[in-house]
Symmetry: D2
Subunit: 337 residues, 4 copies
């Protein structure tokens, strides 16, 4: 087998994780180049012995013999970069979301299809060992037909309001992971979304036109349901749980903790808080995600998360926004014909 030449675009928090995993854990690939708009990011590329560092995506695609690119740049560059990479015949891993506009996403997916390249979307939670276990149990019929899927997803704190303004709002920025998880676990098509949301964390979020606390009910094509609850700020940190209730039983994925100790004192029994935030909590998932991307490239098999997964999760986010605005359940066909 030939070595696969990979480049990384964007060396922010997520880009650095992907670069580290690509550089350290694979013998079948070579990280041939990295790109970032900031000069200082060259130090990161150097740390992992990446031979080429460039500042534009065009230059990155010009690197000779490039096979695949991992796109971790800001959301508003995703659509352009994916189109450019597809036209250059380069295989693509792209962080979610592809774009905040459904039309733009559809346009991107058409180009990808036409050019015949592979595109994988970065829904890393699908690769988390805890949730993979749940998925495997569901697939092995351990709980029978899923009837109610419950997802708890709360952040330790909100991002800056400046970020929120350009993020597309909580449903497209944060809940989008939970939408994908619900679809992943259920395996069924979502037909309706009802979202109830408010602002409890910070009034500035309301001024920015967004919400920070929500309960979302999804209805699947077989009338089974999922319920997601979100908050931008949980005082106790990152809260990521999943429960699947089915005809034969129920399975829960609990939070992950830095350790399992229990301390008994005069005042009670106590232990540590869950792992702080996504970098700690989903460390293994990022590793596994990029591994499955490389494996799919090597074997030529289908990507484990594809463009349509990206499209549908965005449509769900838009449905949730509409549902809150109009305080009514919104059919997915209203959003995505």
């Amino acid at each position: 087998m030939e070595t696969i030449n990979v480049a990384v675009a964007g060396l922010g928090r997520i880009g650095k994780i992907h670069l580290k995993n690509l550089a350290r854990n694979f013998s079948e690939i070579k990280v041939v180049a990295a790109m970032d708009v900031f000069d200082e990011s060259k130090a990161i590329a150097d740390e992992f012995n990446v031979p080429v560092f460039v500042k534009t995506f065009e230059e990155l695609l010009d690197v000779p013999d490039l096979d695949a690119v991992v796109i971790c740049s800001p959301t508003d560059t995703h659509a352009d970069y994916v189109i450019q990479a597809a036209r250059a015949g380069v295989q693509i891993f792209c962080e979610k979301p592809l774009d905040l506009s459904l039309e733009r996403v559809q346009e991107v997916l058409e180009v990808v299809k036409k050019e015949g390249v592979h595109l994988m979307l970065g829904f890393n939670r699908r690769f988390d060992p805890e949730f993979k276990k749940i998925k495997a149990l569901v697939e092995n019929d351990a709980v029978g037909d899923p009837q109610i899927i419950k997802i708890t997803s709360r952040d330790p704190g909100p991002p800056p309001v400046s970020y929120i303004k350009s993020s597309g709002g909580m449903f497209l920025d944060m809940t989008i992971h939970d939408f994908d998880m619900a679809r992943y676990i259920s395996g069924k098509r979502v037909k309706e979304v009802y979202a109830k949301a408010t602002v409890k964390v910070d009034p500035e979020i309301a001024q920015a036109g967004d919400v920070d606390t929500a309960v979302i009910t999804l209805t699947f094509e077989d009338d089974s349901m999922a319920v997601i609850d979100n908050c931008r700020k949980a005082a106790y940190g990152y809260d990521q749980r999943l429960e699947v209730f089915g005809s034969k039983g129920m399975v829960q994925a609990e939070n992950n903790f830095p350790n399992n100790h229990k301390l008994y004192t005069e005042t009670g029994v106590s232990g540590d808080l869950p792992l702080h935030f996504f970098l700690e909590r989903y460390d293994a998932s990022y590793n596994q995600e990029i591994r499955e991307f490389i494996d799919a490239l090597v074997s030529g098999s289908a990507m484990p998360v594809d463009g349509e997964d990206g499209l549908i999760s965005i449509a769900m986010g838009l449905a949730a926004k509409k549902s809150v605005e109009e305080n009514r359940p919104v059919k997915m066909t209203e959003i995505l014909a």
Copy 2:
């Protein structure tokens, strides 16, 4: 202090529990009479040394010096019995619901008010030690302002379809407890109900015009939310959990188990299922409930659960039914002016 003379009407499952607790755990009261339409129930009365056994509520109210009555007869007798007892000047404990018709409940409450007797409704879960602990923590500001209340409430199996037909449906028969719990924990007024429901357990339930699986979103006056999920059948038994997420933290009440053992074998780590059903799970709550009823009688203080609590929970059930029928959120003011 004078001894309080108490009678029990209805010696079914719940009636027997109340009779046992009344007969065994109080020195300040005397169970002077019991009533049941079935002759065989006399044996139950005898077991607890109840001196008088009658077959009609009229005869029960004729027992001399009767102070209070505990009504555990079928739902369709509640309204009549409460009115009769109120007119006889007897203090009343009545199992939920008061009636399935909102108008009839309002009529009953007016009579109770006019006659000046006390009426306590049997929302026993408020007296469960696990949920009382949660309530106390919420009141002590341990989790700050509640933002999302989550109630999981699933039965080990559905009642007979014949029962379902006369029960008023799942929302009025089963969810009514969860509606009351949400109000109890929140302390806020509910302004809107959205219910999504389906039939997953038994098609005959659909034929009877009812649902067996539901997710219900409540919105309180301050825009905080509660989400309830119900199913008439959980393969693993009775599932009764409560979680309160607030501005300062989160508290969970887990299921109660018959024991805490953990068995490690070659195939995994295992333990017993939760306590089987409401008689086992809420044993302590029934005891405490009747104790607080007697305490309120003795001290003359307000009943811990009153007629209005009964009224509102029924209105919530009716709102949920309407929400499912019309697939839209229903304002409480549409139901209860």
Copy 3:
């Protein structure tokens, strides 16, 4: 079946529990008399409608048609009372220990045997639902042959030093329960005891000639082992755990808690302490213990805990004392020929 007439001797903490359970939970017996040296205890007898209250054991045995007696008086009266009751042909339940002198215990057991009455010893923990579950799993071969039994047994605080002085010391007063539990779970004969002990809680306990902290290793006839750790004071309350490690697996009985809530705040995850002390923790066991005594009386079957169980546990306590004094393993045959 004839009603069994039962009397209770000693209305201290344990006596009151037994009286309550006898008075409330049985239709097949009648509590005909109670005895206590203190006049004030008559109020307790009255509370449970016991018709006769006396101040001496002789008077108690004179009650007509007495079938059985439950002895809960101070330890130094046990031997005398058991002998008197046996000679009166009355069936006997006696709290542990029978006596602090092995010779005296043997003498008592000979009288019991000669008179042909039943004697049950009050090792209530055998009747605890948590430990009964463990026993059942062990008997059902869920963990295979027991190889290491681990017992953690720590009190929330030491008794008064005055009590300790007359208690026979920690091994005969506190560990005796754990010795019995080890034998009960193992089902094997103990052949050797090694105890290492010190004073960590209160120097006055040392001055009283006793220890307050210990680790005891038991060796059974098949060379399997048990290890017990004790302390007279655990800052966090009553700690009662049991673990059985065998050829096929392992089973643990965890502490019992007043509730299962978990509170997540900025500082960590916390919950309540275990149930405070033996009255709370072993409430169900006292109930079940006396039920099995009555059941054995009614059916005429063997007592679930008999005089030999009492004898051996005392011998083990004496072996442990000797082991500490001489800092060497002590064979049971050195104590009990």
Copy 4:
């Protein structure tokens, strides 16, 4: 700072782990050479781009500018290699135990001392996040003065009998980790060892002159105690727990699991077994251990585990063997003057 040149001797299971961690996680060092007696091990060296592969320790020490060596070869080579490395002025990390003979260990330590090199012993469990947390809590006085330390340490299965024969026996091969853990957590000097042991797993282990199941009681200089229980085979896998009971409370380190899921079905609640064996369970500890070795080299500070730690743990193992042979507590001064 200069780059530190490190070599790895022995590329078995542990050697490979250390090589991987050294090669991937440090920018301040360079792995300049590896040694193994088997030709096939060259592939491992190649995988991590180690430029030099040799088959003898002499050749390894001849590598120019070598600063430190990590010794992971079989136990019977440890003493020779450490002496050679010390005489060559190379800093040393050595897997436990240094040797099975106390005299030989003392000889080695004298050479190390004379040559003035650093020596760190591979007690990796000290670097486990779970146990480090316990140590930190103990040091921060969260449980007060330790009174009873409890260590459960059971393997999923015994090594081959051929290995056992040359291992020095269970106490020197397996329990040695627990001896070190007890000392690490306590911070006190051990004064006495009592071990009770038997063969329950495999009669061939008895024929090889060893035991496979044991309970060991340690007494520290302040009369506080530790109790260790070991078995070569736990049907449910690797069981590694630690509990510290002190004057102010108690802290437990639970087993680590591959995930936290709970599955509820008709038959009970279940979850996965603990992480399979030491490679999985102590993965993070190996990483952290070698990091602290490198950090100590770089900073010139004292090694976190030194030669004396190695010496004492071996002496404790010898005391335990003697205790079993003579069935009596053995003072540490009998072993190590």
